[in-house]
Symmetry: C2
């Protein structure tokens, strides 16, 4: 498949100026780049981008896309209550999981994401993988496994089962979509895993030549529970188990000591920052700027929409930038250039696509996000990079390409029958309660009571 992109601009090395970009793509890989118009030749599929601004495709380095049907239904719960409510309230059939995951994919694509690192549940892992495959997204997939009780939540399986399920999922899905899907190892988090399982996952990663992703130090209770159990921090314990490394992404990384930061840096580890979830379910505020200062590449993740409320990575980028500045009282923290790295190549590194994805460069996969330019709020050149980080929105995304194929074109989904999907999903939300449901009636966790409010007057005319 030979594809040519034309009539586009991109930011130059300074990040302060635009220049024209023409691109040729062969078999999904960027084959050549030029500032001058390339000749049009027979047999090439040409896409005219209408002056659009081309970026490396955005990488969402931590998602639970299957949570899309729970969006907005778990408000008001702190991380512990939230997790317990989700485990009891948000159970999906395979059909539901397929639609929910695909719905999450559409939202991600519409906001410019080309690659996700999805942690899914064993109960519907195949359906979820199929949905992502069908969406056209590039993805790293991990089945979350744990073999130890966390708080009131019992483990799903024992150590052997966890390792066997992971291996089996790897064998079924790694390399699917002509290499578009990759399977990672997904120990759910040290609070819910034995040390044997953690060591076993590292060994399996080595054997299968793949990477690792795990939740780490998200909430204070979890962090304290691990310390109470082992007399050491999560990061210290993961180090002792040999899990850390440039091929291991630690998701959240909120409650870290200075020593933890240094350990991660020593192992050239990777961190995924999920600011929307961290704030919305009151995990705490992750030390993103401090991690980056240590030289640790921090990627961004939307996490699950039942906690973050979104699969729009542009929202995470804006939030990460503002939160680092405001929480540290340092307006120079996380400059826009750095946030763009977090959105692209740092994301690729955290999810196993280093050197393949995250840059516009010859030899890289042709994963591209194209924004409408110029617009009233996306103007000029010198301040444009800051505008991209702080003032874009999903509606600015005109086109999204993965492996050179359009998933979104001129604002319309190409890879998914969106209208049918939205109808199906709306039907599911009408028929079933995907929220905490009857669960809170057992006494806990409490759901925040909705406040009374009324915009729509009951009066129907002035004379009522």
């Amino acid at each position: 498949m030979r594809i040519q992109l034309t009539q586009a601009v991109t930011l130059d090395e300074s990040g302060q100026r635009l220049r024209p970009i023409e691109m040729r793509i062969v078999d999904g890989v960027i084959d050549s780049l030029s500032e001058r118009p390339l000749p049009r030749e027979e047999g090439w599929q040409v896409y005219e981008l209408g002056g659009g601004l081309v970026l490396p495709g955005l990488v969402d380095a931590h998602t639970h896309l299957y949570q899309s049907l729970g969006t907005g239904l778990y408000d008001g719960l702190g991380v512990n209550a939230w997790l317990e409510a989700l485990i009891h309230g948000y159970t999906l059939s395979e059909d539901e999981a397929y639609d929910a995951t695909l719905l999450g994919c559409v939202e991600a694509i519409r906001s410019g994401t080309t690659c996700v690192s999805e942690m899914t549940e064993l109960a519907f892992a195949d359906a979820a993988a199929q949905a992502i495959l069908d969406s056209g997204l590039r993805a790293s997939l991990a089945v979350m496994v744990g073999d130890q009780a966390e708080g009131n939540n019992p483990p799903d399986m024992n150590t052997h089962q966890a390792l066997a399920a992971t291996r089996s999922f790897f064998e079924r899905w790694n390399g699917a979509g002509w290499g578009r899907l990759k399977v990672l190892m997904g120990p759910v988090g040290l609070a819910a895993c034995t040390l044997d399982l953690v060591r076993g996952m590292r060994a399996l990663a080595e054997e299968l030549h793949t990477q690792i992703v795990t939740h780490c130090a998200e909430g204070p209770t979890e962090t304290e529970a691990v310390r109470a159990r082992y007399g050491a921090s999560e990061v210290e314990m993961l180090e002792r188990c040999g899990l850390l490394g440039p091929d291991c992404a630690l998701v959240h990384a909120v409650w870290l000591s200075e020593r933890d930061l240094q350990i991660i840096a020593n192992h050239t580890g990777r961190v995924v920052h999920c600011p929307s979830t961290n704030l919305k379910i009151a995990d705490g505020i992750a030390p993103a700027a401090a991690l980056l200062k240590k030289g640790i590449p921090v990627a961004l993740g939307c996490d699950g929409a039942a906690s973050s409320g979104t699969y729009d990575l542009l929202k995470e980028a804006r939030l990460a930038s503002l939160l680092a500045k405001g929480s540290g009282m340092d307006a120079a923290a996380l400059p826009a250039e750095q946030v763009l790295h977090m959105l692209t190549d740092y994301g690729a590194e955290a999810s196993g696509w280093s050197g393949k994805v995250g840059r516009l460069a010859v030899g890289y996969r042709a994963d591209l996000t194209v924004l409408r330019y110029p617009q009233a709020h996306l103007l000029g050149e010198r301040g444009l990079l800051s505008r991209l980080i702080h003032n874009t929105a999903a509606g600015d995304v005109a086109a999204v390409f993965v492996d050179g194929s359009p998933l979104l074109w001129d604002g319309h989904m190409v890879s998914v029958d969106e209208e049918a999907l939205v109808q199906r999903a709306a039907g599911r939300l009408r028929r079933r309660d995907f929220g905490p449901g009857a669960y809170p009636q057992k006494g806990q966790p409490p759901q925040a009571a909705p406040q009374e409010w009324a915009y729509f007057s009951r009066r129907t005319s002035k004379n009522d």
Copy 2:
């Protein structure tokens, strides 16, 4: 003018269910509301909203729209350095101010705003007012006046001039656009105003039957300077001058003591929360949840885009919700219902439109924001209000009405020739530097150095 809106839905009193809404508008005012289809009669202009979700028009209770051409050019500067750089770097001719303000209006309208409370500069106040009038937005306008040096920044005028300029602007613009524009009193902030001016502004507000808006306790330096000068907090001093009241909006309100909160509550004062600016230029984090708990209606403001980076109020709503939860470690803080109030009726109260704007009710002005519904990310009914606050984007706004007239229709600007404006503004950004420019070369303030980065490979083929 008789207008009928049909084929729409809105949230009911519970905020958990949708119901159909049909509306008749006479001379810009909501004349009747119905769940059942209203008959179509001769002489009524009918707008079919295609199943869209109707909300009361969003009120941006604090803006400096004229800063749009400075967006992205003042990154990396904390509040003091930022203010000094802006004063020296961002000077506009009247023509520039007109375009910059109109550009800000377009961005606001495209993201669902129907009413702004704009604080503008005396040097180009008429041009700015004309731009807002031309945009079709409803607006409260205030000219910022100060008669005292703040830090290194000298005052523009003396007390008499400040009062005279305010009165003169009021006489020229209050009530323009058949009542669509309103002029408020705008003492810029206590750090830059004498007590005589503050008292004079209160007296003028009484005489002219209008409201007051002022910056208050934005940054730590400003707050400490006022305390050093008077031995009392800004809020205490404003109270002594008689400025506080339900007709006085305090913008920012970051550095407040518990006593300050109580004083504002005692006077049933209004506060405008600008979280993007507060974080981006490292003002600090305003106690929005604590203010609301005291019964103080907190509205939302985008402030100027040279600090906040945006005129998209939906971004402020999301940020306010998440920031209150995360910074206070309380996931139940600022429930979505409350944030919707902040976006609508609390905004109206803070900017002088109480009882006229901010609700869908008979007798209110027909200022409406219509969102596309359903979409992949805006689905269902029970979690929809949370989705509105946490997961909408400018592109979701299908239509915006002010006084029953469409400013945006089917995603296209009706009230402004957007393409011509964007072209003009792009030209201005090419021709002139609207950033700190040569100013930092004098020694201060320092601008954050851009980090080196490069997405676009210099190589142009695999063989280079």
